[in-house]
């Protein structure tokens, strides 16, 4: 089993792109069911947290800008760790993410096992 970082990116730049309160409400159940499904398979390493949409970005020369990468269309929306055999299995899990239908993308990164 390997650990994978599962990052959900959403477009926070345009108001239209972000879900309405009704959409958010409607997304809670499928999202919770999806996480519950991963957890029921004992493939959840750490439970997801909720992140605010405020954010700060720190750059070279101590430049600090507000907002989570406002200039790119794919800001980080959710982040947690799962367990999977390989990329194929991790991809199958990620396909279940209900936020995909609202235009989100899910990025997967496999953790490199520490050298023994």
């Amino acid at each position: 089993m390997n650990e994978f970082l599962l990052a959900i990116h959403r477009d926070l730049t345009s108001k239209d792109a972000s879900p309405s309160p009704e959409q958010m409400q409607a997304a809670i159940k499928p999202f919770q069911d999806w996480i519950g499904s991963i957890a029921a398979q004992n493939k959840l390493v750490s439970p997801p947290k909720r992140w605010d949409a405020d954010g700060r970005v720190v750059k070279q020369n101590n430049t600090v800008i507000n907002g989570p990468y406002a200039e790119i269309k794919e800001s980080l929306g959710g982040l947690f760790l799962i367990r999977a055999k390989d990329y194929d299995e991790a991809v199958e899990i990620a396909k279940g993410c209900p936020i995909l239908q609202w235009g989100a993308t899910v990025e997967l990164r496999m953790a490199i096992p520490p050298v023994q």
Binding site: D33, A40, P47
Partner: protein
């Protein structure tokens, strides 16, 4: 109370109090002395009462004798006393006479302190439960062996090892401080819940013993809820959970001692007073910001006190299981979550999810599949129930699986 039942009854209630108070006084490293004095006291009672009849106030009699025996013991053991004296509580330098405080408050304080001592991280959970039964609930080695479905020697060894560990660690039986409560309350609650589950889920046919275990777990939890320091949301949540479970105690076994499935239970046998109590404790638990697994499990148990199926009931249960699994994975929670998913989102969705579970050695996994395929594909359902039967180990579980098979075959014949 009749003479022949008075002493065993008092033994169960008073023995543990004497042991706790004396250990609290001497320090846990001298626990055998506390146990010896408590045993001697009851021996004296057996002898004296059989000749002279029961005293007017049996409890007071026991306390007086215990106090005298303690004083005598300490007098006889001058050397020991010199070592022990500095450690003994309640001894003011002004008074030569040692006071042994058997007030209700000190009894409760001592039992609470003992509870935290027993739940020492260096002691295995199994041993913690055995110790709690022995020292806090006054259960004998035989009774504990019966509860664990094992023999006396195993329990005796387990207890001796655990007591040695307590001595070795030189753990002080003291009132838990605030920091200690934070760290150890969770262990204490887990031990209490294991104690309860031992009674609730045990396949032992001894219903009285099983009920006793549940009642003892609840009594210990009440002690926590009554103490200002330990009266925390998680403690109330666990108490609430146990009230909800215990409310079904009489409905979940039939006269023959066989378990009755939840959907077949006669809800008029459910104890409404306990359900009400459970709701009260759940309200008390609903403060603060920390959500414990006991909160979630109590929530699930709360919805199970509503017999009637409703979309709201199963949606709530499903979401509580989703959250519970994020906090702590367990195969049984994964299976129950999938059962709730079938009720909330339909069987086809649940079958897809069930297939993702890697629990192929668990008989409950196959009974879940059997349940999910019932009315979807009855022959497949039957196959799964048969696999479940072949994997079940205990007689109780085997009977339950057979019941599923019988029921399925019965409906098949009715259709034809």
């Amino acid at each position: 109370m009749k003479d022949e039942v008075l002493l065993p009854h008092l033994f169960r209630i008073e023995y543990r109090k004497l042991v706790s108070v004396l250990s609290y006084m001497f320090g846990i490293q001298h626990i055998e002395i506390a146990e010896d004095i408590a045993s001697d006291t009851f021996l004296a009672a057996t002898e004296h009462w059989s000749i002279h009849g029961n005293p007017a106030n049996p409890t007071a009699w026991l306390y007086t004798v215990a106090k005298n025996k303690t004083k005598n013991y300490l007098k006889r053991n001058q050397l020991f006393e010199q070592k022990l004296r500095p450690a003994i509580r309640y001894t003011s330098s002004a008074s030569e006479e040692m006071e042994i405080d058997l007030s209700p408050k000190n009894i409760n304080d001592s039992q609470l302190a003992m509870m935290f001592a027993v739940c020492h991280p260096g002691i295995s959970q199994e041993a913690q439960v055995a110790l709690a039964l022995n020292l806090l609930c006054g259960f004998g080695v035989q009774e504990i062996a019966d509860a664990f479905l094992t023999n006396k020697e195993v329990i005796y060894k387990r207890l001796t090892r655990a007591k040695d560990k307590l001595k070795e660690e030189n753990f002080e039986v003291g009132q838990p401080g605030r920091e200690q409560i934070g760290d150890r309350l969770e262990t204490v609650l887990t031990t209490i819940y294991l104690l309860f589950s031992e009674g609730y889920y045990s396949t032992s046919q001894n219903t009285i013993l099983r009920k006793d275990l549940c009642a003892e777990a609840m009594r210990l939890n009440v002690l926590l809820a009554e103490n200002e320091l330990t009266n925390q949301p998680a403690a109330n949540a666990l108490l609430s959970l146990m009230c909800f479970h215990a409310s079904r105690f009489d409905a979940r076994t039939d006269e023959a001692g066989e378990s009755v499935l939840y959907e077949d239970q006669d809800e008029t046998l459910w104890d409404t007073a306990l359900i009400k109590q459970g709701e009260n404790y759940l309200n008390l638990a609903s403060i603060g910001s920390k959500l414990s697994r006991f909160h979630l499990e109590a929530g699930i148990a709360y919805w199970h006190t509503h017999k009637k199926d409703s979309a709201e009931k199963w949606e709530n249960i499903l979401q509580l299981y989703n959250e519970l699994l994020q906090l702590a994975y367990s195969p049984i929670a994964a299976l129950n979550r999938t059962f709730a998913l079938a009720k909330a989102n339909g069987k086809p969705a649940a079958i897809v999810e069930a297939k993702k579970l890697d629990l192929k050695t668990n008989h409950f996994y196959f009974s879940l599949l059997g349940h999910l395929y019932t009315e979807v594909d009855d022959s497949l359902a039957l196959e799964h129930f048969k696999t479940a039967l072949s994997l079940a180990a205990s007689t109780g579980d085997k009977k339950m699986m057979q019941k599923h098979i019988d029921r399925l075959q019965q409906t098949a014949t009715t259709v034809i």
